[in-house]
């Protein structure tokens, strides 16, 4: 029997406006978190994992209303905390606490750690100084320090010890829920295991729910019961930790799991390599946000290119969508100086640019599919004669893909949720075979 969730996040959204000018006109938005939903049950540890820029830390601060969410609801014990007024919010702070990433800056250097741990008690009205002292000393012992440490200052402790104090400070108000934002990232490996063990023990002893944010899969795997994988502000896969790690379904999750270097040299080079960089969150790709880097992006039915060539064509297409492809510099990048055409000879120029484009985007010449080949050649001509926009038009018409046109929904499959058209039965798609790009030995 599943207990009612303690925390339910519904469509949480946080955008940061980009402003210009004295009057601060909004010219764009950074979509740090763009509608995520998940829940956390009592006594459970849930993880949010993802790389930099995916919005996981912002999700944590918005969830606790340390920053005001732009949209969405957060239900805590059944009540919507986004509608709380000041005093209700203050009371909520007693029930939900946070541990921060950097132990060296999460303590006021001018306060002893005893005072830092006692501060939440003071804020919420406990005036009895001696009672505060006793509570603090008791807590310090529980997290593995000694009561005498209460008078010492943060700079006298190591990183691992400071994280223990951070845990004590979070516990002092007896919360039901703790958000841990990268709690061990700043610590040495030999200390990480200790702190994670401590968090696990504390959770078991006091029945807490924990939300763990991390970019380190090993950490997540160590203590999380369930995990949500985020990419560019959205959750792409979500499910029990072991399942997601051992059998990832979403192409991004697969690449992520594959990229983690395993401490076993016999298994080197097993990863899937993604191309390119994470796109800018103020200008995310259309449709599925991951499609520009996805190894398994869906090709139109009438195209038979092989997955790698298809991906490269799609890369060419996406690049034109960004505008401003300069044929001249492309030629300069890939052709030796002697072969660069002068301004006069049009045919030579077209040839040179064709060569350069093929080199830049790794497109074989000619492509195996004749229609595709024609479309690409036409696009290169359009690039030379008219411009990037026209070339882009041609490519978009010739190579439509559902991954660029429609955003996938989170769909239940197999005990977990995945946001990918490949897993959405309502979408017509022939999945291409996965290509594994290894890092390792060729011998």
């Amino acid at each position: 029997m599943k207990a009612d969730p303690l925390v339910e996040v519904e469509n949480l959204t946080k955008h940061y406006p980009i402003t210009e000018g004295v009057l601060r006109r909004e010219v764009g938005r950074v979509r740090a978190v763009d509608g995520i939903s998940f829940d956390i049950r009592p006594g459970e540890t849930v993880g949010i994992v993802g790389e930099s820029g995916c919005g996981k830390s912002t999700a944590a601060t918005s969830l606790l209303r340390l920053e005001e969410p732009t949209d969405g609801r957060v239900l805590f014990g059944g009540e919507d905390i986004t509608t709380y007024d000041k005093s209700q919010l203050k009371a909520f702070r007693r029930r939900a606490q946070m541990i921060f990433q950097d132990p060296s800056s999460s303590f006021d250097p001018r306060m002893s750690i005893g005072d830092s741990v006692a501060e939440p008690l003071k804020i919420h009205g406990m005036r009895d100084r001696n009672r505060r002292r006793r509570i603090v000393e008791d807590l310090l012992e529980r997290v593995g320090l000694s009561a005498r440490d209460a008078d010492r200052y943060p700079h006298e402790f190591s990183g691992g010890q400071k994280q223990r104090v951070a845990l004590a400070r979070a516990l002092v108000v007896n919360p039901d829920f703790i958000v841990a934002d990268e709690p061990v990232s700043a610590l040495d490996v030999s200390i990480q295991a200790e702190i994670l063990g401590l968090i696990d023990d504390i959770q078991a002893e006091f029945g807490l729910s924990i939300l763990l944010i991390s970019h380190d899969m090993g950490v997540v795997r160590q203590i999380c019961d369930r995990v949500n994988v985020m990419y560019l502000g959205e959750i792409v896969e979500s499910g029990p930790t072991e399942d997601v790690f051992d059998d990832p379904q979403h192409p991004y999750t697969k690449a992520l799991m594959g990229s983690i270097p395993k401490p076993d040299p016999r298994r080197r080079g097993e990863g899937i390599e993604l191309t390119g960089d994470v796109p800018n969150p103020s200008d995310p790709p259309t449709g599925c946000r991951f499609h520009t880097r996805c190894p398994s992006v869906i090709a139109p039915d009438d195209v038979s290119l092989g997955q790698e060539a298809w991906r490269n064509v799609l890369h060419f297409r996406s690049r034109t969508a960004r505008g401003d492809l300069d044929p001249r510099s492309l030629a300069e990048s890939h052709l030796p100086t002697e072969e660069l055409p002068g301004d006069e000879d049009a045919d030579l120029a077209r040839d040179a640019v064709n060569q350069a484009v093929r080199a830049e985007f790794d497109l074989p010449s000619p492509l195996s599919d004749s229609e595709a080949e024609r479309a690409v050649t036409d696009a290169v001509d359009a690039l030379v004669e008219e411009g990037t926009a026209e070339a882009g038009e041609l490519l978009r018409e010739a190579f439509p893909t559902v991954c660029a046109n429609r955003a996938p929904e989170l769909v239940e499959t197999d005990g977990r949720r995945v946001a990918c058209h490949l897993h959405d039965e309502s979408v017509e798609a022939t999945p291409q075979e996965d290509v594994t790009f290894g890092i390792g030995d060729d011998d």
Partner: protein
């Protein structure tokens, strides 16, 4: 009892509000006493009720006013003169003096008390500070000046003009007898000329008006201390408030405050004082008020940039996360962490203001009734050839005091800087 001592046993419903700390209660008590005495002085001793309230309203509450007012303040006058000691104790607080009391109180509550509450931190700072010998010597010197400057004038009568005793040399010097009007000390022969030796009656000699230089120095100490410290307090109070508020709240608040600061920075307070001195009586109070109220832009900008850095630190977010209000965060986290910048800035501001006052006094645009070092230097300006001690001795003290504050400021900056590798 053990059952009450773990965090699991807290019953949050029965907690009251935050309440006051011990320091807070002391401050409240002090403020109450201060206001009472101020009321007594203002209303009773200086007819304040009439002047401030009733006359402007056209009422001359005859019976009431007369009843409330008395003439002079209690002049505790101990007739030591009968035993040959010229000794008085004068209570007549002027506006400046009231401000000075506030300044000293603030110094106690925000400087001394926190250090007493955090002895380990204080010990660390002291260890660092001790390493700078020059600063320690300066600190001792300044403390002496401070104490003498406060206590001394209480026991001194206003210096009188005594033409017969003009131009006496200091006790360690001899001058040709042509210089003093009448030599109070011994006259001897030296190198073919008759010279006058200084006496202990005027250990540092006298001015052209016959006023004892030592007395003038002591009175000048008070003036310098008052000018330096009170103005500094005004400046850092206004500057810190504005700086931290702008940094913490950001946005429109920041814009508006900083643009005002830019405006104020364009107003030259020195010249403004000169101009105002033509229209109004240039009292010390006016000088302090003007420089204090118009001189805080630099501090505001400095504090703002420090506070901006602190606001980004995680411990601020940790406090917000624990439920702290904006005021709590500013007061307990941001201000203490920018306080080192403030203190360093303060100790470097003081000499600036003392110099301002000296310069204005030198130009004879300040209150003629107040004897400051600048005034004495100015008085001795013309006699540098014959009676160099008149201008030089105050000049030396002025120089040493400025130097002392500079050394102190540098050392404080180094000692209090938390970015000094701590571990």
């Amino acid at each position: 009892m053990a059952t009450q001592d773990t965090f699991r046993d807290i019953d949050w419903e029965e907690m009251g509000g935050v309440g006051l700390s011990a320091g807070g209660k002391q401050m409240l008590a002090f403020t109450a006493i201060y206001l009472l005495v101020l009321a007594y002085d203002g209303l009773l001793l200086h007819d304040g009720l009439n002047v401030l309230l009733l006359s402007p309203l056209g009422l001359e509450a005859s019976g009431l006013g007369q009843f409330v007012a008395t003439t002079n303040g209690p002049t505790l006058w101990i007739p030591f003169e009968s035993v040959g000691i010229d000794f008085t104790f004068l209570w007549d607080f002027s506006g400046t003096d009231w401000l000075f009391v506030v300044t000293v109180a603030v110094g106690y509550f925000y400087g001394v008390l926190p250090m007493r509450n955090n002895p380990r931190l204080a010990a660390t700072y002291w260890r660092q500070f001790k390493k700078n010998r020059a600063a320690v010597v300066s600190a001792i010197y300044l403390v002496i000046i401070f104490v003498v400057g406060i206590v001394g004038p209480l026991f001194l009568k206003d210096p009188q003009i005594q033409p017969l005793e003009a131009y006496q040399p200091p006790v360690f010097m001899t001058v040709p007898t042509t210089v003093p009007i009448e030599c109070l000390g011994e006259t001897t022969m030296q190198g073919g000329k008759q010279v006058c030796q200084g006496t202990w009656q005027y250990p540092l000699g006298t001015t052209g008006e016959g006023k004892g230089i030592l007395k003038l120095l002591v009175l000048g100490m008070r003036v310098s201390m008052q000018v330096g410290l009170i103005t500094m307090l005004l400046v850092i109070t206004l500057g810190s408030l504005v700086g931290t508020t702008a940094a913490y709240f950001g946005g429109y608040v920041d814009e508006v405050l900083m643009r005002y600061v830019d405006l104020q920075a364009s107003v030259p307070s020195f010249f403004l004082f000169l101009i105002l001195s033509y229209f109004f009586e240039p009292t010390l109070f006016m000088l302090i008020a003007l420089f204090g109220l118009l001189g805080w832009e630099g501090t505001a900008r400095l504090v703002r940039s420090e506070a901006l850095q602190r606001t980004e630190e995680e411990f601020v977010r940790a406090a917000e996360n624990a439920g702290a209000s904006d005021g709590w965060v500013i007061r307990r986290h941001i201000l203490p962490n920018v306080s080192n910048t403030i203190i360093t800035n303060a100790s470097l501001l003081i000499p600036g203001f003392i110099l301002f006052e000296a310069a204005l006094a030198f130009l004879n645009v300040t209150d003629p009734g107040i004897s400051s070092w600048g005034k004495t230097i100015s008085a001795g300006r013309g006699d540098l050839a014959n009676a160099p001690w008149i201008a030089t001795i105050p000049g030396i003290f002025l120089f040493l005091t400025i130097l002392g504050f500079n050394f102190l400021g540098d050392a404080l900056g180094d000692a209090l800087d938390p970015r000094r590798g701590d571990s």
